[in-house]
Amino acid sequence: MAEVEQETADRLDRLVDALASSPPASDDLRPLVALAAELRDTLAPAASTEATRHRVQARVLRRVRAQTPAARRRPATERRRPLILRPAYAIAGLAVALMLTFSTGAAYAAESTLPGDTLYPVKLGLEEARLAFSPTVAGDAALAASFADRRLAEIETLTAHGRWRDVERALDAYPTFVDDLVRLEALIADPDEAADVEAQLAHHLEVLERVRSEAPEAAQPALLHALERAGRGHQEVKTRQEKDKPDHVAPGQEKKGTESPGNSGD
């Protein structure tokens, strides 16, 4: 019985492989082959587009680069290699493609779009291009701060318009930008920058709490997730600031000369 089933399954498997060339199916398998053809014709997703592939690639590689040991070691002020020697040809190619594909007017129009708008992916693509051409990590950090604020502003605007499905979409994307901001802040390790990022994220938390009070039930999980990530980022920056203070004392380490009288622990 099992052998017969395996044999039938093997025949069906070959027929499914040959669907595109529409071979004549044997009678017993004809209904299943027809069903497979119908499913493929109806439900098969299209191949990814070149634009999608490049857009995601730029985002992935940017984040991957920020995590490599080399990136962590690179001082904030160090210049990267000249563009022509940089391996990120794909990112630069994306920028050029965007400039060639979209007129200045369209690019300008895209800047004011919101998640869910047709030109919104262009806005994100332009942001990626700006990052690709930023010559220093400090420049990346400044852009990341700006983009995180943009995402927050988009959430606020969509909330005001009651576009809750798009608010959810914006909230889903938001944590990525917070993560980038926090990671880049860690790379440049500048106390002033850290203070700015901490204040920025504190503001984000306030805004997200306000949005949460207005949002419907369906948007609450995404909001909680965004709040959690912004809160975690805020705490991470704050903790780093504390550690970086000159008089910071690690847990378990004795602080010299600061004991209060009568508080020596004896």
């Binding site: 399954a9 069906l12 053809a37 119908e38 493929r40 439900l43 098969a44 191949a47 992935v60 984040r63």
Partner: protein, 186 residues
């Protein structure tokens, strides 16, 4: 003439911090992973964001990845499944294929006549009632047109088991459709 590097070579180089090697792996596998995500997520933007998450998580998990008969594409597929599980946990229950609108061809769907749309909806409903591994083998073998060998690697089964699974899945689906009186062309 330079030879195309194997996945193993690229993984080793990516592990050593060579981002461009990971970029090559990305180009090799973005399409099947993205298309798989499109069979599971109704919204194209969601699938794009999820693809980004999958490749980033894969990069972060590279130090723990050991090939040993488990190809890199199967590793990516597992990362994608985990990411989808997290996504559904945060958002809403798994939709299966029921709520996935004609993922790759929205424009065509708009042009379908009512009878055709009914038929499509019937397929979605019937698919959603199948056991998860039946749905999965149909996604991989039929919707994504993956070879049996790759499907077997991704699903961690033998090729023979995948063939039997596909046969049973299509047979069950056909019966469900017949019971519901859904019409199929062909």
């Amino acid at each position: 003439m330079s030879e195309t590097p194997s996945d193993s070579d690229l993984v080793a180089r990516a592990r050593a911090g060579e981002v461009e090697a990971f970029g090559q792996l990305y180009l090799r596998y973005f399409d099947p992973i993205f298309r798989y995500l499109r069979t599971r997520l109704a919204d194209a933007q969601d699938a794009e964001d999820m693809a980004e998450t999958v490749f980033l998580r894969a990069y972060q998990a590279l130090p723990g990845y050991r090939e040993r008969g488990w190809p890199f594409s199967a590793f990516l597929y597992q990362v994608a499944r985990n990411a989808l599980t997290d996504h559904y946990r945060q958002h809403r229950p798994e939709t299966g294929l029921t709520e996935v609108q004609n993922a790759g061809t929205p424009a065509r769907a708009l042009d379908e006549d009512l009878a055709r749309m009914e038929q499509v909806a019937g397929l979605h409903r019937a698919m959603a009632q199948l056991p998860p591994d039946y749905q999965e083998v149909i996604r991989l073998r039929v919707l994504l047109s993956l070879p049996t060998e790759t499907t077997a690697q991704w699903m961690a089964r033998s090729e023979g088991a995948v063939r039997v699974l596909l046969h049973r899945a299509l047979e069950t689906l056909r019966k469900r459709i017949a019971e519901r009186g859904e019409r199929l062309d062909g």
